[in-house]
Amino acid sequence: MSTAKALAARTARRRRDRAALPLLLGPSVLLIAVFVVAPAAYGVYLGLTDTQLTGFAARDPQFVGLENFRNLLGSEDFLGSLGRTAEFVFWSAIIGQTVLGMLAALLLRHKWLRGKGLFGALMLLPMVVPEVVASLTWASVLSSESDSTFNRLLGVFGSGAAAPLQEYPMASVILINVWRGIAFAMIMFQAALEDVPDELIEASRMDGASALQIFRHITLPLIRGPVFLYLLLTTITTVGVFGLVYFLTQGGPGQDTEIASIQIFQSAFKYSQIGLGSAASVILLILLTILGMTYARLAKVEV
């Protein structure tokens, strides 16, 4: 075919097919607009009203301005849930997943290590199973029954049976979330470490640097960008964790594991305070945005 002919066909076709664009893109835009964007916008509006699910106020919701926000910022329940979320994110995502994921990624870098394929595959398991299954497996491991895996492990060390989900609920769900997130950290760090040249590390070893020094002064600065990107992503996903914790504790015992996602769910669907729950969601989103921009600033990456 001649180039000129093809070019002519292309231009003509382009003009005539303009009409097809709405047909092609329309369904996607419509679905995203109605079921993803509209709820987000609607949520901001609901946060400014006293909407309830049931009862007198449900019939005639009033616009109350910023009152929900004022109530929330003076409410111990909500501030407590924010604190627990911070605790949950810090220990499970920023410390646990990052450290263990980095260890796994560093291990996988060794040329002499045998069984890397199997190791990598096994590490992926906790991430790919549905969250309900993840919760269920840990419910069994940490069950208060005396023959649960955890209690038998305690027995080996000569200690009596315990009920970790009741006695140390926050530590338990943090441990479980670490378990679920190691694989994601490992994948991200593995990709980042590939860009660190072996020669550089070899040279620093020749100069007598210890492994710790090499990691601290050579490796870490070189993968700074990906590490902060990972921290940003894991913070966002960890703030959004709901099922994993709700399945096991429903926020309890008491309010010990009532992180913000569960608090929002409870206030909206258990206490039918839709307006209050929406306002809490908005505050959570604002905090998340601030946090995200801080990470981006720290990583000196363009977003």
Binding site: A9, G43, L106, P130, D147, I182
Partner: protein, 294 residues
């Protein structure tokens, strides 16, 4: 070969002197790292050992041990009460949502890849940014919205929501795949008399396979594993998918039937695993190689 490359922080200190003098150190270090690897792997795997072993155990408890082998738990899962219904519900919602997601995704991604229009880049980045919002933060408003448009507590509502939630990823993935399909192939089809849509069907669809497989896998897994959306949107036990069913049977009774729960978990994990095996060849194959050169 190097004795170690980067050792973990806080691990054993590396030998400071020349390697020759401390071969023992290197051996100890390697051994320590093998131990670390085994511990990490055990941490990740032991909970699953429980699921698999207890599912085939006649007197299953919350403990990892050698089972008294039986398939009774599975038999009870498929014959008892409402559990097959849960499985069926999960299948209906997941397949319908994935199909809808892919259908919209292919057309939308084609438009994003082949047309140049105002707001295209903005749209691409906007749908990516939406993904940053944690689902629990919009679920309250979503529920009320669905009640208002009378789509709560129905298959249709859940399918629409799930398909939309996974659309941004599908659009990005398929746009990348379609970008890689040479435009000349389509033009050739046009010159042979195909319409725009005819060319999409004859040229794009056969070649978009690997991307479609990946998108199908991601969407299906997201819908199949979702817990929060069905928990909020569905009230009728008749419509519950497996995720909610498992949760209810775990919390409803004081005496937990670990055997059946474990069997349910295995059944629950099977379809995504089968789909993965089925699509894996599809994911690996690049069907574009010879198309242009030939």
């Amino acid at each position: 070969m190097a004795a170690t490359t980067t050792v973990e922080p806080g691990g054993a200190p590396a030998p400071a002197g020349p390697r020759r003098r401390t071969p023992l150190w290197a051996v100890v270090q390697r051994a320590l790292q093998y131990v670390l690897m085994v511990l990490l792997a055990l941490f990740c795997v032991v909970p699953f050992a429980w699921v698999v072993l207890t599912a085939v155990d006649a007197d299953g408890g919350p403990t990892v041990g050698l089972p008294a082998f039986t398939l009774d738990n599975f038999a009870r899962f498929f014959t008892d009460g409402a559990t097959p219904r849960l499985f069926l519900n999960s299948v209906i919602v997941s397949f319908a949502a994935t199909a809808l997601n892919l259908a919209c995704g292919v057309l939308g991604a084609y438009a994003l890849s082949r047309y140049r229009f105002r707001g295209r880049r903005t749209f691409m980045f906007a749908i990516l940014l939406i993904r940053v919002i944690p689902p629990p933060a919009t679920i309250v408003a979503l529920y009320l919205l669905m009640v208002k448009i009378e789509l709560d507590d129905s298959y249709l509502g859940l399918i629409l929501v799930e398909a939309s939630a996974a659309l941004p990823i599908t659009l990005w993935l398929l746009k990348g795949t379609i970008d890689a399909i040479p435009f000349e192939l389509e033009e050739a089809a046009w010159l042979d008399g195909s319409s725009r849509f005819g060319a999409i069907r004859r040229v794009i669809l056969p070649l978009v396979g690997p991307g479609l497989g990946a998108a199908a896998m991601l969407t299906f897994m997201a819908v199949w594993g979702d817990f929060l959306t069905p928990l909020v949107l569905l009230q009728s036990p008749d419509l519950y998918p497996l995720s909610i069913g498992l949760f209810r049977s775990f919390t409803a009774f004081n005496q937990v039937d670990w055997g059946v729960l474990a069997a349910s978990a295995v059944v629950y994990m099977a379809p995504p695993a089968v789909l993965y095996l089925f699509l894996r060849r599809n994911l690996m194959r690049s069907s574009l190689g010879g198309a242009v050169k030939a």
